[in-house]
């Protein structure tokens, strides 16, 4: 068995990782802004830069998952009937397909989460 399981073919973790990355990014962005503003720092810019850096890291991680889903799992964005076959390879391609869709969804969600910090200059 090779670790981490996320890049081990056949693991369902590849499907779970994009939402986990979004949740972690959401929590961290919220936490950074809340703590920064609670300490009376009126100007949001330093916190916004931290959230922007975090966003880029989250998007890179989601991109990495998307690459694994495409290359290792041969996942496609479009639906193909063959991925529903009762075969090991089809099951992996199904996981790749679902993981890719979740990557797209969670990349958008991460950008939406970060958007307010890029628009507002003040707490």
């Amino acid at each position: 068995m090779t670790y981490p399981r996320i890049i081990d073919d056949g693991s369902v973790w590849i499907v779970i990782m994009p939402p986990v990355i979004w949740a972690g990014h959401f929590l961290a962005a919220y936490w950074i802004a809340a703590v920064w503003c609670a300490r009376g720092m009126g100007v949001l810019a330093p916190a916004a830069w931290a959230i922007l850096a975090l966003t880029l890291i989250a998007l890179a991680a989601i991109g990495w998952i998307a690459r694994i889903a495409t290359v290792r799992y041969e996942g496609l964005l479009r639906h193909e009937a063959s991925i529903a076959d009762d075969r090991e390879r089809s099951r992996e391609r199904f996981l790749g397909h679902v993981a890719l869709l979740l990557c797209a969804l969670n990349a958008v969600a991460v950008i939406f989460t970060a958007a307010p910090s890029l628009v507002f200059g003040q707490c």
Partner: protein, 332 residues
């Protein structure tokens, strides 16, 4: 005389009345469509495009649903259907939601970017509003349940609460903002239309939540500054010297909770009454300020406002009550 045939019109006529409970909120002093403030107008300018856009999207989705339901299955239809789902169900909604988010955020930024000419501290209490004006070089002005603002000038409202969460909302002037214990939230209002606009608590805060109202009185800037200067003065001397009213006030123990500047009454619990006679309403916006209403308020407080924290004084002698009411009405 009504013939049996005309009865058939009653149904449609009644149906036409059906939206009235909703539509009656579309105008008047509590309506956010009244456009009495710059902030309310900014929110309204978001509302109509959003409403029209939503109606178009809803109609298109319903039309697609009917079309899909009536279409026969085919390979070509399957491919087209998947393309519609991809573009209509994922790509276009993502773009639309992103645009809505950006528009909303930019509007919010524009609303909070106005630099205020005036700062007003508003403290939410169960179930009334303590309002304080702090103008540099002038004595602090404390009043209650009435927020006076000058037309055309941006006022910054610093919102706090001492007990539970309240929410200040004057719909005709702008959006609402929560008042959270331990925090100071900031709301800016730029009134554009002179008048008396209704306000209310928009966060359930206990028994008399629905009776926690206030007035926003918008006047010309000169009239506002005259009012502020008058409010900064202690109680009117003619009221204090009038027919034993102050004695009745102090004897009844009112001074333990209420302040009248210029007298020994300095209670911090209830509303400051230094210029109570100049306010339009009593009981946190509940009833107009008249001698009869004030008399009933003092003697049967809980009847006027169930749940109110102020105790009623039903046993006050009629002469003492009359003197007290005349005294309070004279505190202009």
């Amino acid at each position: 005389m009504r013939s049996p045939g005309t009865r058939t019109w009653c149904g449609p006529r009644l149906l036409r009345l059906a939206p009235l409970p909703v539509l009656c909120g579309c105008e008047g002093r509590h309506s956010w469509l009244a456009g009495a403030g710059a902030e309310a107008r900014a929110i309204e300018s978001l509302f109509w495009p959003f409403l029209i856009g939503s109606a178009i999207v809803w109609t298109a989705v319903m039309a697609f649903a009917v079309f899909a339901y009536r279409s026969a299955a085919s390979d070509k239809g399957e491919r087209v259907g998947r393309a519609v789902i991809l573009w209509g169900g994922a790509v276009v909604p993502t773009i639309v939601v992103a645009m809505l988010l950006l528009t909303g955020l930019l509007t919010l930024r524009a609303l909070s970017a106005r630099s205020p000419a005036l700062t007003v501290q508003v403290d939410g209490e169960q179930w009334w509003w303590r309002v304080a004006y702090r103008v540099p070089g002038q004595a602090e002005v404390v009043t209650a349940n009435e927020i006076r603002l000058p037309r055309g000038e941006t006022a910054e409202l610093l919102l706090t609460s001492d007990d539970v969460i309240h929410s200040l909302w004057a719909p005709a002037l702008g959006g609402k903002m929560d008042m959270v214990p331990g925090r100071t939230n900031r709301l800016t209002l730029t009134p554009l239309t002179i008048g008396s606009w209704g306000g209310l608590c928009a966060e359930y805060c206990g028994a008399a939540h629905a009776q926690m109202r206030f007035e926003v009185v918008v006047t010309e800037p000169e009239a506002f500054r005259d009012w502020l200067a008058d409010e900064a003065m202690p109680a009117a001397p003619e009221a204090l010297s009038e027919g034993g009213g102050l004695d009745a006030f102090l004897d009844a123990g009112c001074g333990a909770c209420h302040t009248i500047r210029g007298t020994e009454a300095d209670g911090p619990v209830g509303p400051d009454l230094t210029h109570v006679g100049g306010r339009g309403r009593i009981g946190a916006g509940l009833v107009p300020l008249t001698a009869a209403n004030l008399s009933r308020w003092i003697s049967h407080t809980d009847d006027v406002k169930p749940g109110v924290r102020m105790p009623a004084y039903p046993d006050l002698a009629p002469e003492a009550l009359d003197r007290l009411v005349a005294f309070l009405m004279a505190l202009k």
